[in-house]
Symmetry: C2
Subunit: 332 residues, 2 copies
């Protein structure tokens, strides 16, 4: 791959889908309005208008276009996906007691936890209305299942994060709930509404699933070896917040009794002293878990690209392939 093809393919997607994304944004603004409860659009606007790459709704628009869709249900579905995403961010920030999101104070900080919980519920119910309007039971089934995977993954993350018994299988499930389930639902419903065949819908699911997993593994790896200037996060935030992610899970799996005691103290019990992050990084180095995690991310990106093979040869397909490269190119 040359540098150009992996330069911000989501921006090239955004260019290609400008008028449809405009329609999605208009629909989002219309549907987040509430005649009676002004708190709702205030909170939603704070988050929705903070930007974000709108990757998920773009995936829905892109896959619908890949199959030559000419109706307008993909606009509704793209807005649906963005509403679900926004609702989960609102609830996540309450659960994680976060103070910042996308470089701005979180809604739970600006208003309160109550507003974040209830406005999240409202957006979820609005997304539900939007998808019902498409009249497609298949789409509803996909989104209902994705919602359950997301919610179960969140609960699992809450209980598994500091539990050293968490293995790679549990991690993968948390990652599916946290990121991949909505990516794969986004790509699937675009194809379904456009009348893609069963094989193609399956491929769209596999692409979205693998893309989401590659994306999240890359994020978790960058937490330990990223440049804080480009990631906007400090190295070791996950360690300090006692979040078990793949680089640590791989190190725990190979730990000597002394090393296990170290992870037990710092992650399970959360008793961290100066120098512990360096020691943790040393253990990851010792077992090569950062490199192994990096390989995993690249493997998932390859899986995503492989899934695209059964899809029609189309400009969009090329962009989706480049997007899979791009989410892991950050690791080079």
């Amino acid at each position: 791959m040359d540098t150009d093809t992996i330069t911000k393919p989501h921006e090239r997607l955004a260019d290609l889908l400008t008028s449809e994304m405009d329609a999605v944004n208009t629909l989002i603004r219309t549907r987040m309005a509430s005649e009676h409860a002004p708190r709702i659009p205030e909170v939603t606007a704070h988050l929705v208008e903070a930007g974000g790459k709108r990757l998920r709704p773009m995936l829905t628009l892109a896959t619908a276009r890949l199959f030559g869709y000419s109706g307008d249900h993909h606009i509704r579905l793209a807005a649906t996906v963005e509403f679900i995403h926004t609702a989960t961010l609102l609830h996540d920030d309450v659960v994680d007691e976060s103070a910042q999101r996308r470089g701005r104070p979180t809604a739970n900080l600006l208003w309160d936890n109550k507003s974040s919980v209830l406005v999240g519920d409202y957006l979820f119910s609005r997304s539900f209305q939007l998808m019902v309007e498409t009249g497609s039971l298949r789409v509803l089934d996909i989104l209902a299942n994705a919602s359950a995977t997301i919610a179960e993954g969140e609960v699992l993350q809450m209980t598994a994060a500091t539990d050293l018994g968490t293995d790679e299988a549990v991690y993968l499930q948390v990652v599916r709930g946290k990121t991949a389930a909505l990516f794969s639902a986004a790509t699937e419903v675009g194809g379904v509404i456009a009348g893609a065949s069963e094989d193609q819908v399956k491929a769209l699911f596999e692409y979205g699933d693998a893309l989401g997993i590659a994306f999240q593994i890359a994020d978790d790896l960058l937490d330990y070896q990223g440049d804080s200037k480009t990631t906007g996060k400090n190295v070791g935030d996950d360690f300090r917040e006692r979040k078990l992610t793949l680089p640590v899970i791989k190190a725990v799996a190979q730990a000597t009794p002394d090393e296990y005691a170290f992870w037990e103290r710092t992650i399970s019990r959360g008793r961290q002293d100066e120098g512990d992050l360096d020691h943790a990084l040393g253990l990851m180095e010792k077992y090569g878990t950062l490199d192994a995690t990096r390989s995993d991310a690249f493997n998932w990106a390859e899986k995503a690209k492989a899934a695209l093979q059964v899809l029609p040869d189309h400009e969009i397909r090329t962009l989706l392939r480049d997007l899979a490269d791009y989410v892991v190119a950050r690791l080079n």
Copy 2:
């Protein structure tokens, strides 16, 4: 009406629907299970198995039977309605910072707010899967709209509760969100799944809506004039928690400047002293707002009964009529 017909009609409904309610309870237990996140069934069981009258799922079973339904989708819909109800209770207790529910410590107290938020989300997504299984877009539409009314009502309640500008129209909307929207969805979907005509479905909506409103107004009135032995609540809890309900809204509407200043201090600003509840009760007495609220509750119960007229003559219809009498009979 004689005393017998208004004696606990929900218990007579429960008798009549025993085997179907058993099936609903089995389905609830199956669907609240999570292979991976044991926290989910723990939290759900705490609430679901604490009892409660299961009024909402019974309404769905009852209206399906009223139209001679012989399939099993009404079981799924009854479980759906109970899951939505349970999810809203979990989120409500977080928002209200409640410590007790149904005579037991709340989930947010026993576990934490995070668990209540995320398990609530999980139950909502499970309810969504259950309703999709019925394959009825009409049912999905009704439940999506009810969810939006519920969520909007909750946000409205949060922002309107201590605002003296809250009038009876806003109160009614909060009550619809809090109680009536799920009652009316419960009665409607039972009829829809059983193939009731449009007129009959409309009547089922009107019955559920009016029943829910009567029920909530009665609850709000009992807060000021109930016997704490039978209601299990202390007189004036809503006043102390600065919740504007109908008896106070009616008194505020007629207040002299001095009285308005009293409501302003005690409700809007929450500065309450000893004797304030008695003074508040005195003002409600002065303007007869407790009696007026009582009349409103009875009027809604009459509306509920009137809606039943177009429904088939059936044992269930008699029980639904008695139920409307029962929710306000507590006020005698």
